[in-house]
């Protein structure tokens, strides 16, 4: 019995929509960040599942996997910058609610 990459795609869609719901409904910037991470991981799962299917019977190294690796790399950069921004923002005005950072100028 094989793992169906269709099913992996369904799990990926579920994760992505959960992340989207988090971004759209939550107020706390940290939790919005967490939701963005979920969405990135959903995309990664899709890459891996699709590359499993595309590389069936092929002797090439799996390119989808490497792409997922670069997504992880970019996610790491994004988190470092984003959390840096968050700290700067918190220093500016001690609140992490999205409504309070609608205006960047004082």
């Amino acid at each position: 019995m094989m793992i169906s990459s269709d099913h992996a795609t369904y799990f990926s869609v579920a994760l992505f929509c959960i992340g989207l719901a988090g971004v759209l409904t939550r107020k706390n910037l940290i939790i919005i960040f967490v939701s963005v991470e979920l969405m990135l991981n959903a995309a990664n799962l899709n890459f891996v599942a699709m590359s499993r299917r595309a590389m069936v019977g092929s002797t090439m190294p799996s390119i989808g996997d490497s792409t997922a690796l670069f997504v992880i790399l970019i996610a790491a950069c994004e988190v470092a910058i984003g959390l840096g921004l968050l700290i700067g923002l918190y220093r500016h005005a001690p609140s992490l609610a999205v409504e309070d950072v609608a205006e960047l100028k004082e």
């Binding site: 019995m1 793992i3 099913h7 992996a8 799990f11 869609v13 579920a14 994760l15 929509c17 959960i18 992340g19 989207l20 719901a21 988090g22 971004v23 759209l24 409904t25 939550r26 107020k27 706390n28 940290i30 939790i31 960040f33 967490v34 939701s35 991470e37 979920l38 991981n41 990664n44 799962l45 891996v48 699709m50 590359s51 499993r52 595309a54 090439m60 390119i63 996997d65 490497s66 792409t67 997922a68 690796l69 670069f70 992880i72 790399l73 790491a76 950069c77 994004e78 988190v79 910058i81 959390l83 921004l85 700290i87 700067g88 220093r91 001690p94 609140s95 992490l96 609610a97 409504e99």
Partner: protein, 166 residues
């Protein structure tokens, strides 16, 4: 057989922990649920046969990124006065949009098995564009170098952003 059941179990775990992560009131609980979700996903990668990616996932996400998250949460504090725990106004619309998108995806994927048959070649081509073409061993050289420059730039950027102004 075990591999298949592990895949479905961990993928379900990943989705459940993801759902828990976005519904927790306390950001630290949210971050901990996220790390469980990411670890489950690493297990899914192993079940799919991408062991190296699973390792990278554990190192980078469950290791480095989670430490950053928890560090920042500790730094800004979790007092209810400083961190809003409520949902946004009109959050029902957000949920509606997400559910709608999920339904559209599922219908599209389930309508015909032909629906996603073409995607795999697109993924392959996109990946070829992203990581470059060439011999097997030289495939990732350019993207690797660009990635290291990106990491350096974001490192400098993060340091600059968090520096205190005199």
């Amino acid at each position: 057989m075990i591999r298949v059941s592990v895949f479905y179990f961990l993928a379900t775990c990943s989705v459940i922990f993801g759902a828990l992560a976005i519904t927790r009131k306390n950001p630290i609980h949210s971050a901990l649920m996220l790390v469980l979700s990411l670890l489950s996903l690493a297990g899914v990668y192993v079940a799919l046969g991408a062991a190296f990616l699973a390792m990278a996932q554990v190192f980078v996400y469950a290791g480095a990124i989670m430490v950053l998250f928890i560090f920042v949460i500790m730094l800004v504090g979790t007092k209810p006065t400083t961190i809003a725990i409520r949902a946004r106004d009109h959050y029902q619309w957000g949920i509606a949009i997400a559910v709608l998108l999920f339904i559209v995806f599922v219908i599209k994927l389930g309508a015909s098995s032909l629906g996603i048959r073409g995607i795999e070649t697109e993924v392959k081509e996109l990946a070829l564009v992203l990581v470059g073409t060439g011999s097997i061993f030289g495939v990732h050289a350019l993207a690797f170098e660009l990635g290291s420059i990106l990491v350096l730039v974001s490192l400098v950027g993060a340091v600059l952003l968090t520096r205190k102004h005199e």
